[in-house]
Symmetry: D2
Subunit: 358 residues, 4 copies
């Protein structure tokens, strides 16, 4: 299986299955001498963890990261930073009934056809538990980028049909509710809706939005590695993501050039854009304005309702998932979106250093 | 400048600027012995060419591809297939007034900050003329994939606020109108609208949709190189693209799992999905159903209206583009979207061969 | 730090330091369904291990490999195969006196200048213990290649000035002596010589030769990835290697074309070469004849004699290594050379599948 | 065919066959703003060109480089620098008799087995004419590295059995004779010997040595991308190369640690090594001392004598090459060795910038 590495200079190569020994990875490109703020890294993992509130699954996995290399006296040496989060509390038994069954809208069938073998326990490599490795690498990327002043904030802007009616005023409110929507009123509606969905034994999708402030000008590389193209790949590689748009996104397709263009002006001797419909990127390169984008998540495929499906032998059957499952994973996806964004930016930031003339 | 290569096994490395000697590239991974159907390749280029109709720019560039290597007796030898489309008919003079000016929502400013130097004539490397290289590589990819029976069809599904009201019935009608919308009635409305926009000296955005039929099962690689993630990067790397969604896309975010899941059944001994809301990909791997996706284009930034901007010296000024410019590039983007899709699929198809046990 | 990955399709990304938690890696490109013959893998590790005999260091590290992912029911699933060999028995204290000292002909100084920080315990990332990861990956590569009938055999052909006087007759005798020289008489001389060097508190270099039989025709890729160029990089990346030659090697430089060329003839309807001065590779591609090459190792830099050096503060000083050190690492390098060869071949073998027309 | 790209950040992707339209490539990673000293680049090509003197082939190919992109007003813009050297004066007819024949020790047979198709004219992609692309890219790399003061000098140290008896005193004498050996007396012997070989209708091998002075400390990346491992791959990828050694090379294998180690001392407050047996690299990273290495070339396979071989149909036959062929290519390999060294160093130099903390 190819495709386990993300990034060119700041690179994560990840490994692990949901019910194997653990999830981990190797991070390359870490700045030598970087202080490894372990509390910060662990906190990012905790944000991803299930069991944070009544609206997420009650599995209290207490994902603790163990670094295996690349650290000495609390600092990154620059050598590969390997890590693992050991799997605990997995109930493989919950999945015994799925051994022979292809769950609808899961990767069971495609893995079996492609590889001819599959660790069927809990999704195996296709499990969303794989995103643990992303969150660890993203936390390291955030630590590396601290010196630039860059700030990445993702939040839930939509759950089912409940969405924010306008840009949020106050991003400090994101973590104030378990649903991670910065508008308290909308957050409350979302929480109630998710609870209703849980009672229906169903699941629901949503949208995570992200704003990146204080971006250095000049990040990103035309032609194929435009900054937003790498952000797009990064987000679309997260489980359950079905769409990505930045700046005006799909709305731009119904606009006129005279409405969409961001005119320049001069402020305090600095060239600035009056508007930021472009979303902080021109020609694939950051222009110093805020980068913002939306990521669409489908409802998770695992629902506790009965569904019709087939087994490996090609017999039609009825299945019903067991175990503990989030009715809406979007709030837990917030730190994952941030992590992927941080990785993309850190990679572009390292690459950008190579253009310096001295 | 990094980022000029797309693909891992089927690879395009592109070069060229809009007003330099030409646009070209090197294609690697071509199947040795492949018949190079030059007419087909040239026809793909013609589809991209400006000056095809009154709704596109009247520059008749007659882009002719010249192969520089990798061909012998009309067949690809498998060695690097280098090619160039020589630039002709460029009127660099049209751009002299832009030498010192940063055009709004163009890459002028970000290139200058990032690289400290820029070929300002007509967009240089950031020009959409760069997509010529993609169309040539995409045509080769299509030739390679012919043996699989795979069929890629893109079309215009929206121009400004005019969109298809339902899935098109007949994809053979795509090329029937210059706007490349398969519904004749909608196409006519689009044409009239684009004409109006031209008279307003403005531009307008749109959406290109794409359907891929007869996809072999098993293409694509989890985790980071999911087939849709590579498609997303591919599409987002095209000039003016602001968004990508596949399957239900952003609509999936307001759906429930019980509405979105594709249940399996058995038909003629084959496992099939009853519905295809997933868009032909599960867990990043093609499942044999149709792949479909949408690509959102912003209105092109170059408009013939006056706009306020600044020059390199930081003085505010007024600019007005000269020359010939498409008010809506979306119809010409159709072959580009197809080309990028073909490249992604060909790459995944080659990689998939490495999993065979013998 | 870049450079921790070897291979394109069959890939090892390694991590670890000699006195950190362990040495490990992630292997990608493993054939799904491959039986993981754990005894075989462990045996390869045992061949590399110190403490195998009186001529190697008495550290009995009992390096046991633990697989962290990619295995299910004893088979590789094709997903990333992560592993670790936990460090035990390290006496970091042995290195306390080296904290401030740059050991002659070690990587201490260059790491400090390059990265500004270094795990000084026992060589850190620059330790030969890093080769553990290579041996594990090489063992997996050998398992994958079993179906081809390919056979890789490395042996010691020279220790100091004691060398084989002719091609060895019987490669089954390699493991018969701890020095891994297949000629018993020469082996005995080498053993005595190494013992003498140990008593002198010195070290000595040597040459490892390798023969690969039953190589499929067609492996390797011109231009830059010629099979022997990748073998060369692979071997030169092993600690203490100073030279690589294949076929006639440096001797070819004093030969005439009429002496060196391998004429073709036909045997049983098969095209064969009468001689094999080329070493089994033409134009960077294997031709089915035996591949053979030599790898030159310098004497290990760590000796128990006094040496003059400088410390980090730039003061001249006298140092003397402590602890247990091999006077000649060349016998232990034999499985490492085989492992790297297996990785190069497995990578080329996977890549070669992509050229198939169907 | 894979393997046409060399380098990670400073990258050459090459194309072309000996009797196709030309040889060229795309260079990425060029410093934006670099003055393109066209005379220097052309002069490097002239050094590689056949027909420079009576000891090389009389084909006067006048290889002129044409840049296709990436240049504006005489400066590199940093965008991909594409170039071509058009083929002229090829006499394909000289090769008609070889169409059905596998020349001994050529790549004819392996290409045919691997790819099933081959441009048989003059070696096609396997021709040494491919090295033109390397020389152009190497010239650009040298221009980029000028600011570092780095100096790369290769020379012929051996032709057949005639070699330098000691390190050359004066590297300015390299270009003084057509054989590019800096010792005039040895050079004269080599010239006479090559002339004799020509009369015998035979060919002869040789050794190119290279010294790199003023190398910045810190270039190169452990573990797999050690500076000497990349140099090794680079050199071994040149046509006809059979071996590579650096520092003491194969001689190191018969030395003791106490003889080989380079002790440190302090000079003018700088840490220096008393000796440089290591060849300027420790742990894969440059240490500021001179890098030196040797590259062994076999005699070219094409000789004007009769040889026995087989044809594609498997019939034994007698062949005799026609046309103009160098009896000894080693003098012309000098600029190619320098070019590859420059590319390796430039790549490591760019990568090294990413470790800076600011």
């Amino acid at each position: 299986m190819a495709g386990n590495t993300f990034g060119t200079l700041f690179k994560l190569t990840s490994f692990g299955e949901s019910h194997g020994k653990g999830i981990g990875g190797i991070i390359e490109g870490v700045t030598p001498g970087l202080e490894l703020d372990v509390d910060f890294i662990q906190n990012e993992l905790n944000r991803r963890r299930p069991g944070q509130s009544k609206i997420t699954t009650p599995r209290d996995e207490k994902d603790q990261v163990e670094f295996l290399s690349g650290v000495f006296d609390g600092k990154a040496t620059g050598t590969p930073l390997a890590f693992i989060v050991w799997n605990k509390d997995q109930k493989s038994g919950d999945y015994d009934n799925l051994k022979e069954i292809y769950r609808p809208s899961h990767a069971d069938y495609t893995y079996d056809v492609k590889y001819g073998i599959r660790d069927h326990r809990g999704g195996g490599r296709a499990s969303a538990r794989e995103t643990i490795a992303r969150v660890v690498a993203g936390a390291i990327a955030k630590l590396m980028l601290r010196q630039t002043g860059l700030d990445i904030k993702a939040f839930v802007s939509q759950v089912g049909e409940i969405g924010l009616s306008k840009e949020p005023d106050d991003l400090t409110m994101i973590e104030a509710t378990p649903v991670r929507c910065p508008d308290p009123e909308t957050a409350q509606k979302m929480i109630e809706y998710i609870d209703k969905i849980r009672q229906e034994k169903d699941s629901v999708g949503g949208v995570v939005s992200c704003v990146i402030k204080n971006v250095p000008i000049g990040l990103g590389d035309p032609v194929f590695d435009k900054l937003h193209a790498k952000l797009g790949q990064a987000m679309l590689s997260i489980n359950a993501v079905k769409g990505f748009e930045y700046g005006m996104g799909f709305k731009a397709s119904s606009m006129k050039g005279s409405q969409h263009n961001d005119e320049f002006f001069v402020k305090d001797g600095q060239i600035k854009a009056k508007t930021n419909r472009s979303g902080g990127i021109q020609g694939g390169i950051s222009n110093g304005e805020d980068i913002y984008f939306n990521v669409a998540f489908k409802p998770v495929a695992t629902i506790l309702k009965e569904q019709r499906t087939v087994d490996k032998q090609g017999n039609e059957t009825i299945m019903k998932a067991r175990g503990r499952h989030d009715p809406c994973v979007v709030p837990r996806a917030v730190p994952i979106v941030e992590a992927m964004a941080a990785m993309v930016i850190a990679d572009a930031w390292l690459l950008n250093k190579t253009y310096r003339n001295s």
